[in-house]
Amino acid sequence: MANILLEMRHITKTFPGVKALDNVNFQVEEGEIHALVGENGAGKSTLMNVLSGIYPYGTYEGDIVYNGKVCKFNTIKDSEKLGIVIIHQELALVPEMTIGENMYLGNERGHRLAIDWNTTYSEADKYLKMVGLSESSKTQVKDIGTGKQQLVEIAKALAKQAKLLILDEPTSSLNEEDSRALLDLMLGFKKQGMTMIIISHKLNEVAYVADKITVVRDGATIETIDNHGTEPVSEERIIKGMVGREMTNRFPKRENVTIGDVMMEVDDWTVHHPLYPERKVVDNVSMYVRKGEVVGIYGLMGAGRTELAMSIFGHSYGVNITGKLKINGKEVHLKKSAADAIKHKIAYVTEDRKGNGLVLSQSIKVNTSLAHLDAVSSHTVIDGDKEYAVAEEYREKLKTKTPTVEQLVGNLSGGNQQKVLLAKWMFAEPDIMLLDEPTRGIDVGAKYEIYCIINDLAAAGKSVVMISSELPEVLGMSDRIYIMNEGRFVGEMKASEATQEKIMAVILQSGRGA
């Protein structure tokens, strides 16, 4: 039996009106990778915030025992002194600063009054090598990709002499390749004796990397699953713990599928980068989508999927866009704006709901009517009652959990925010819906509900284009799949013929050919 490095005993944390954690017990052995899984709002992040001292000693009940000693952390500095380092989901790097400056931010090397840059950069380079980065520590952070930025965050943690590393959704913004590299790096650290806690929604990754998986539900630890066997634990097994019941179908069945004529057609679509106009972001893409059809576009992050969708949506992204866009067989020019695209009954449901999808400081009502405000107003005067009724209608239809539609969107959980975003675009009454990562960052139960909504849209004769980097989702939901890589479409398959292996093979081949 290995040494217990960390034990959290009977942790209870209450926020005004909510018990976020209820008598949680959690043990981590030295030298293991321990995964923490659970739906959004289950209490994973709260637990880690208690551990790292973000919620200081005294604001919670229970004990943290680290290395055999009871700890009373008042700030995050206290926990870092003992080697407990947390890497948050949102990268906390300053883009305009160099990697080295970022790594020692708040932890500067040298004299109290003067920073020793030589030590800073040479030590930074040492840690960068440990995480497998060949970049110089004098490179500016904005010049490296998200994958490498995540590695810089890890190097930064190592520089703090981390003994227990906590990674909160480390792969949520990474593509498949970078994710795998990161997970392998974690396995490498484990061999050197590092202890790690990983929080993740991606269950296949959890199964791949973790020794133990603790499931958190409704503020309590439900069970800890051993993952030492020869076969990695199945995703269904973990999901069962997370939702408290067997999920027989992760993807709802579509009934009475009737697929009609071609609704939208894109020919030879090429888009250039707005800042580097010589770079092609979308390269000669042709595609079509029929009425009542769900077309999946699978591709890794950075493949140009979002750029393709946004450029179709009234040239909202990119410059020097060439190619033909036909709706119902007629060529249209949507060069002006998103408003133009909405008029032609196209909707783009963004992957970044907080960044460019919702107005968080406004109510559900305001967000729901935003893209189609004319429908609830006469002569530019808004009919408040009508607007309220519309918002109520969509709240019921999409089962958005909220006491009232006057609630600010910023106060909702991720899944409910996504529903408001969908409601906004459904109310705009589009014929063509471009859904960009419609289930990113939301939990299993809410995902299922979103899938049902997508199926309903298709059943109502809408044309749905679903962009996703989750293979099972693309396979489970689409009628037809386009595969995108490095700005080009490299394959097209009927969903009935597609498998994960076939799709990955197409991507690998296209990479080699280029």
Binding site: S316, A339, V359, S361, V366, L373, S377, T380, R395
Partner: protein, 399 residues
Amino acid sequence: MDKPVANQSNIRKADPASLLKKNAMLIILVLVYIFFTIMTNGRMFRPNSFASLINQNAYVYILGCGMLMCMLTGGNIDLSCGAFVCLLGALGGMMMVHWGMGTAISIIALLAIGVVYGCALGAIIAYVHVPPWIATLAGYLAFRGLGTAILGVSTTNSISFNNNQEFLSIFSGTLFKTPEGTLNWPCLIVGLVAAALVILLVFRNRAVRLKKGYEVDQIGMDVAKSALSAAAIILVMYKLAYSGGIPTALVWVGAVVLFYSFITSKTTIGRHFYVVGGNIEAARLSGVNTRRIMFIAYLNMAILTSIAAMTTVSRFTAANADAGKNFEMDAISACVVGGVSASGGAGTVLGMVIGATLIGVINLGMFQVNLDANYQRVVKGFVLLAAVVFDILSKKKAK
């Protein structure tokens, strides 16, 4: 389980804590007024004080509406409006006094100059993407110089409007004038009608909402709300009735405030201002023409500045080089004290009006207790800071 409570009961329970928080500035305003009334042995409560409050602060309400629209788009401000008041005053003086142009023509010309500057400023900000505070800093520096140079035609650096009673009566006159100290019936009747309208609107709205099955406040809340607003309106108009009649400045302020109140709360374009300030990218991808909103914000500001310039010149019966000094700061302060978000997307015309009134009451009160002018500035500075700190803290607690 997660049944929406909205449909279970149609009566919204009054929550004293949130009620207090929502109306905090209003309560503070009343307390400050009472404080100064005691300090001045009742002088603050005389009809003249009410008239001064309106005449002295008319420009703050008018510019405040414009500044509110700018701030809504994302905490953007207009630094040039004060200096533009000076320039417009000088130009107005040239037109009406030196060149002998007609009053109506001159007013139209001044508005047109506002439109031209507004279009230029709006275009530079919305389409050339110059940050607003830099774009308006240029006007701040240039306009006062230009205005003072124009006023150089007169040896006193000032142009008197005393010979143009027509212009003065439009912007700083009194309607239905009666001698001070006697009751002016038209003024009181206007007050009574306005009060009746407020009560009517509150209860009509309640009836409509009940009929449609929407949530309404407890009946006591609505009664209290309408009774207090009606009482406040009647009190102000009653006091004004003894000061000689309805100041034309009040008509201008009332029209501007009501118009912008309607625009911001009821129209699609008003809604677009809020969403642009809340999340400009989300607004753009929802089909809102974000550049046009920025353009309108600054065009609108310049037009309102023209109106404010005319009320200012008219109140001092002269255009001079100091006119409009710090007006931009007064307008920004009114917005900020009135709870308009410094980062955009939140704030109401009513809030700004309360903020402006509070600052106006403090100014007048300090003047009446003969506080040294330098210390008056100190107090104003701290009031502004306190208001913002209070606002942030009360929002934090709400979390």
